[in-house]
């Protein structure tokens, strides 16, 4: 065994990112977070990056950005306080402290999640009834997410790669189409409420088109609009008497 190799054996703790590393340095040095000795911490931070480089570890961009931030803060603290400013200048470290505290909050919360995870991984539920209803792989609508929808779409597109341009096209119904739809509904129902006309309009444009269609039908005297009482429900009726009364 080559001694010169073991002599340099280094175990680096794992860090999630620059904030994680900074928090580690603060704890290690038992520093008051509200009064970070920026020179010391910057020095140790850069030392760590140097160590990573010497071990041929890729140093992620975020670590370098933080290094620049630290150096910037350090240079600001070195400047003599300007005498012209009446107001007290803001501590150049303030932003960083806030970020560190905010991050630590979620680290603590994640820690709590971890112990809950540990506990509930030991609890098992019975999969949905092995009964008669349909093939497996069914999804409860309550649990559906856009991710599922997009995954499904991607599945189809992988099967039929020639299909292009599957992008959202907002409902392009014409006023004419809407007019027939309203009349179709009045075939099966004697009257419908004004608001129900817009039930399925999922865009503003669609609502405007529906409204224009209604106006057109009124103009053509194909439908009548009746409001039985002030502020009451407005209902749309089919105009059976085509003669103007």
């Amino acid at each position: 065994m080559d001694d010169s190799q073991t002599a340099y054996a280094v175990k680096l703790p794992a860090f999630e990112g620059p904030l994680d590393l900074l928090l580690h340095l603060i704890k290690k040095n038992e520093i008051n977070i509200y009064d970070i000795p920026i020179s010391l911490i910057t020095g140790q931070y850069l030392e760590y990056l140097g160590l990573m480089t010497s071990l041929n570890l890729a140093v992620a961009g975020e670590f370098l950005v933080m290094a620049a931030t630290l150096i910037h803060i350090k240079s600001k603290t070195l400047l003599p306080p300007s005498e012209t400013d009446e107001e007290e200048e803001e501590d150049p470290r303030a932003d960083l402290v806030m970020r560190l505290l905010e991050y630590q909050r979620f680290k603590d919360a994640a820690h709590g999640f971890e112990s809950r995870e540990q506990e509930w991984r030991e609890v098992f539920y019975r999969p949905a009834s092995h009964g008669t209803d349909g093939p497996t792989g069914e999804i409860n609508l309550v649990d559906m997410s856009l991710f599922d929808l997009l995954e499904a779409l991607r599945g189809v597109m992988d099967r039929t790669p020639t299909i292009q341009g599957l992008e959202i096209v907002v409902d392009e119904l014409s006023v004419q189409d809407r007019m027939s739809l309203i009349l179709d509904r009045l075939e099966s129902e004697e009257s419908i409420t004004f608001t129900s006309l817009f039930d399925d309009d999922t865009t503003r444009l669609a609502m405007i088109v529906t409204f224009l269609a209604l106006l057109e039908l009124i103009r053509l005297k194909r439908v009548r609009i009746i409001q039985a009482e002030l502020f009451g429900t407005i209902r749309v009726w089919k105009n059976t008497n085509l003669q103007p009364s």
């Binding site: 340099y8 999630e16 069914e138 309550v142 997009l150 499904a152 189809v156 409902d171 399925d200 999922t202």
Partner: protein, 189 residues
């Protein structure tokens, strides 16, 4: 293992298995606990289940033991199944829904051309669940019906309007990025 522990473990195993468990299979899971002892524990479990006010029972069927509901509860279970199927969607349903959502207004013929399979049944289900609706007819030969999504659809996916649907391109950004972020290092070099 004490008697009541054994009974508890057997109860949990029968609950999870969802299929008849033979004495041998149970003994295997319980690392060679004597089948006689297992049978005794199962008998005790069965007696507990036969107390008044229980909706479940331990039955011996198809060469094994299984937890099953009592026949008195059948009408309510049917009512439950009805509600459950009304809120479930099959894989093909989801696929069809995805096409309708992103290609609307779309005809059945276009959906089938994309999926490569008959989609009449799936469309009917989606219409019944009010996730999809008929939005009009296409001009031209046969004036086929056009399908689109409903307000209910937006509700299920928590969308305010259709313009909130993520574009495929955006989705790819999320779905096809780097592997999970690795911590900076955990190396012993």
């Amino acid at each position: 293992m004490e008697e009541h522990e054994l009974t508890a473990i057997l109860e949990a195993l029968l609950f999870i298995a969802g299929e008849p468990m033979s004495l041998d299979k149970l003994a295997e899971v319980l690392e060679g606990t004597d089948t006689g002892r297992i049978r005794e524990a199962l008998d005790r479990l069965r007696q507990n289940y036969d107390a008044a006010g229980r909706g479940l029972q331990i039955v011996e069927v198809a060469g094994g033991y299984q937890i099953a509901t009592r026949s008195e509860c059948a009408p309510w279970i049917k009512a439950l199944e009805k509600i459950k199927t009304a809120t479930r969607l099959s894989r093909s349903g989801l696929e069809t829904l995805a096409i309708v959502a992103y290609k609307q207004p779309v005809t059945r013929g276009e959906i089938e051309a994309i999926r490569g399979v008959d989609s009449a049944g799936v469309l009917k289900t989606l219409l019944e669940r009010r996730i999809v609706r008929i939005v009009g007819r296409r001009e031209g030969l046969g004036r086929p019906m056009l399908y689109g999504t409903t307000r209910e659809f937006l509700h299920y996916f928590g969308l305010k309007d259709l313009a909130e649907l993520p574009a495929l391109k955006e989705f790819k950004e999320v779905a096809e990025t780097l592997p999970e972020h690795e911590p900076a290092s955990e190396l012993t070099n």
